[in-house]
Assembly symmetry: C2
Homo-oligomer: 235 residues x 2
């Protein structure tokens, strides 16, 4: 069974949701037959690349909230993160364009190490006070710290076309599915769950998706090779 | 849209089917949004690794056919291959265990170059007279000839565990779908086509699968970040 998870590195609920989903998956009876793929979704694609700002300042301007509301929201997110064993800095977190991070996540997927890359990006963003966005050297340091090869990381970051089409394709698919918020979980393209749900709900969704996993409808049957040899076509 | 194609390198109809499917895909209006993945299926997993034999000899013994029937079948397969512009040697082709080839195909998938690897394996098997099975050096030569890095190829072939679980997972999925012959085409896990169909049928299947591509059913909606910010959870 394939689970596709649309996320953004900028998204606190995606960080929480990853832990809660993984907790549910760890207890799932068929976990060894579940393949998880993280897909790209940018919450703020128009934010200028190469810039960074305090998240409270940015969120008040972007969403018209008071500083108190944003600060309070961060505190509540911090408490929810801590409740599932995640570190979370409730002040000083920065904000920015995540496109290059999504390109790195696609590269890491090709290496079969997407989970490690995403964990490293989340930690750097949500659990470390050092500014994270708009600074390529910081991004290189985070990826290398997670065990990725520095030359490989730089090759991806230095070429803006590398994996750009993959990021766009993920976003186009999200649009087709009507996704307007993340995290967004899709099970074998048959069922979907939106949001950082409790592990119990993810457990239920995994079970339902597994029990109902799709069996394709045959459109046509023809010349094939099987255990008894190949059927010969009429030339 | 994802198209998964179960194949074996030992399977003449898979070789034909790849060309016919690709011809249909080349004319498909949404080809740029179709992702093709080749999955593993072994027609003869019990054939001893490291051995090779004449295909006519093997097929007569395995399927109880007369030499004339097998020779005639190869001639008809050759004619069908030639009709779509493929070379096909109608005598002297060999036969063997394809597990290592499937491991290489999974490695090539990670590199985003699965099509090139599969084309090279098919050509070496069906269009070149030099023996192909049971000979690691020949396999290295074929992969390197297709532009793959020799060190990388040898690393995969020298470690029998590399990608072995991926091959088994593909075969388990095929079993779940009730696949008993290849090629077998699955469109977004919703529709399936068996066999080396004519390009017109593949074109119809692509259109139907595209028009009916799945829209996941929402199981739950919850705390998420969207264009208007993040909904704050009740801590």
């Amino acid at each position: 069974m394939q689970v596709e998870i649309w996320t953004d590195v900028n998204c606190p609920f995606c960080y929480l949701g990853k832990k809660r989903f993984n907790d549910a998956l760890a207890d799932f009876a068929h976990a060894d037959q579940v393949q998880v793929v993280h897909r790209s979704f940018e919450l703020d694609p128009d934010f200028p690349a190469g810039e960074s700002g305090d998240v409270v300042d940015k969120l008040t301007k972007k969403y018209g909230r008071t500083v108190e509301q944003v600060v309070d929201g961060e505190r509540q997110l911090g408490a929810a993160a801590n409740a599932v064993g995640l570190d979370y800095i409730t002040s000083g977190r920065d904000y920015g364009n995540s496109f290059d991070m999504h390109r790195l996540l696609h590269w890491a997927k090709d290496l079969g190490r997407q989970e490690e890359m995403l964990d490293a990006l989340y930690l750097a963003n949500f659990a470390e006070t050092e500014p994270f966005f708009g600074d390529t050297e910081r991004l290189v340091k985070v990826a290398v710290g997670a065990g990725f090869d520095e030359t490989g990381v730089r090759e991806v970051l230095d070429d803006p076309q590398r994996y750009a089409a993959d990021v766009r394709a993920d976003e186009k698919q999200a649009q087709e599915f009507g996704v307007n918020g993340v995290p967004f979980y899709v099970f074998d393209r048959k069922y979907a769950v939106s949001g950082a749900q409790p592990p119990e709900l993810f457990a239920q969704a995994l079970t339902q998706a597994w029990d109902d996993r799709p069996q394709p409808t045959m459109l046509a049957d023809g010349d094939a090779c099987g255990p008894d040899g190949c059927e010969v076509p009429q030339a």
